[in-house]
């Protein structure tokens, strides 16, 4: 069951009167409201809270709304956050400047509550569509898994996170055995069915696992906070599930896959996305050369002591 998403709003305004008013006006809306009277704190909160929309005042001490939005939009971590200026500075040049700097809307103070809610809902809807489109661009059409472009970015981020927080991380590469032969013998439509079925298996794991179609019949799964031993068990289950699939189009047919596994502690140094990938790939080659339909782990060779 999917969780109901509660949008997050951050209000940055130097007037406590406005925060009190907004809390009252938005209390019955399905959203999470955060607020600060300091624009400097607001930038930090934008990074940690990752709000969907920021309601931003213009005239504030230390850093005004224009400088705030410039910094927000120049930071890759916060540039996608929608900004609505809410300001008593109601000159048209202020509105134009705000919109030119990336704001999605401008609400004049004092605001009509109905208008505020309607504009906020519109901004949230727009934000939802933007995120949906961005996500769709990263999803493989046939398998429904993340695509390679997403995988590359995600592996970079996960390796950096695992290094920083000393967390386990394992990469699994998978390749459907004899897929070209299956395609040639049973047709490409059936080949697509195999891809879809295997993708469903890979996608049935934990919510934190990141399953991607790397290309053709090759797949990659990033297992967060997972040791190689744990990853081996997970991968064995995937292997067995695929081998046990009964293909109603071709009863008796057995389709298998080979898997290569490597974690961050066994990958060649220095640890990079490429080194982890290459080590998992070596394990995959071994699985293939040792007879397919198996899971192989890449174990670092012990260093020689002279």
């Amino acid at each position: 069951m999917s969780e109901i998403y509660i949008p997050k709003i951050l209000c940055v305004d130097d007037s406590e009167l406005i925060h009190t008013l907004l809390r009252a006006r938005l209390k019955n809306e399905r959203l999470e409201l955060h607020s600060t009277t300091s624009s400097v704190d607001g930038l930090l909160m934008a990074k940690t809270i990752k709000p969907d929309v920021i309601l931003l005042d213009i005239d504030m001490p230390k850093m005004d709304g224009f400088e705030f939005i410039t910094r927000l939009k120049s930071d890759p971590e916060t540039q996608e956050i929608a900004v609505i200026f809410v300001s008593a500075a109601n000159q048209s040049q202020d509105r134009v400047r705000g919109l030119d700097q990336g704001a999605v809307d401008f609400i004049a103070k004092p605001f009509e509550p109905i208008e505020l809610k309607a504009r906020l809902r519109t901004a949230l809807r727009l934000q939802h569509y933007v995120r949906m489109l961005a996500q769709r661009a990263q999803i493989d059409g046939l398998s429904g898994l993340w695509n390679r472009s997403y995988f590359d970015k995600r592996l970079d981020a996960e390796i950096e996170g695992a290094g920083r927080y000393k967390k386990a991380l394992t990469l699994v590469l998978a390749d459907i055995d004899g897929f070209k032969l299956t395609n040639d013998r049973y047709g490409h439509l059936f080949g697509d069915t195999v891809i879809e079925r295997f993708s469903n298996i890979l996608n049935s794991g934990r919510a934190s696992d990141v399953a991607c179609r790397w290309g053709g019949e090759e797949f990659a799964i990033i297992l967060r906070e997972t040791t190689m031993a744990e990853a081996f068990d997970v991968t064995e289950r995937y292997r067995i599930q695929l081998a046990n699939v009964v293909w109603k189009e071709h009863p008796g047919l057995v389709i298998t896959a080979s898997f290569g596994v490597c974690d961050v502690t066994n990958a060649d140094s220095p640890l990079t996305p490429k080194s982890l990938f290459l080590c998992a790939e070596q394990a995959l080659y071994k699985a293939k050369s040792d007879g397919r339909n198996r899971v192989e782990c890449f174990i670092k060779k012990p260093e020689k002591v002279s």
Partner: protein
């Protein structure tokens, strides 16, 4: 030039300025609270003026400019904008004084019902 302001002076509300949100249940309590705190706000503004603290007074005017309208006192908001402008454009003290009198007079007339 002398400016005669008694920070503790409270004008008798003869002509009430009723909040346009007086019947709005969503913020009725807030409006009551806003009006209840008005004498304190007026005192702060007068004190800032008497001390010659233009920055404090400008901040006060800015807050009233941005906030009062939301509580149903658009007129206070508009006059506070004028006061804010007289300070930010470094107008003579007499102009600031006159603008402050207009705002505080409206504030003293504010009523939730």
């Amino acid at each position: 030039m002398e400016f005669n302001i008694n920070p503790n002076h409270q004008q008798q509300p003869t002509n009430r300025l009723v909040s346009t949100y007086s019947g709005d249940p969503e913020i009725h309590d807030l409006v009551v609270e806003f009006v209840r705190e008005m004498p304190h706000r007026v005192r702060l503004a007068n004190e800032a003026f008497m001390r010659g603290d233009r920055l404090r007074l400008q901040f006060w005017a800015h807050q009233m400019h941005g906030g009062a309208g939301g509580y149903g006192f658009l007129e206070i908001s508009k006059k506070a904008a004028i006061l804010e402008n007289t300070i930010s454009t470094n107008q003579p003290l007499e102009n600031v004084f006159q603008a402050l009198l207009v705002v505080t007079n409206l504030c003293e007339r504010a009523s939730a019902n």
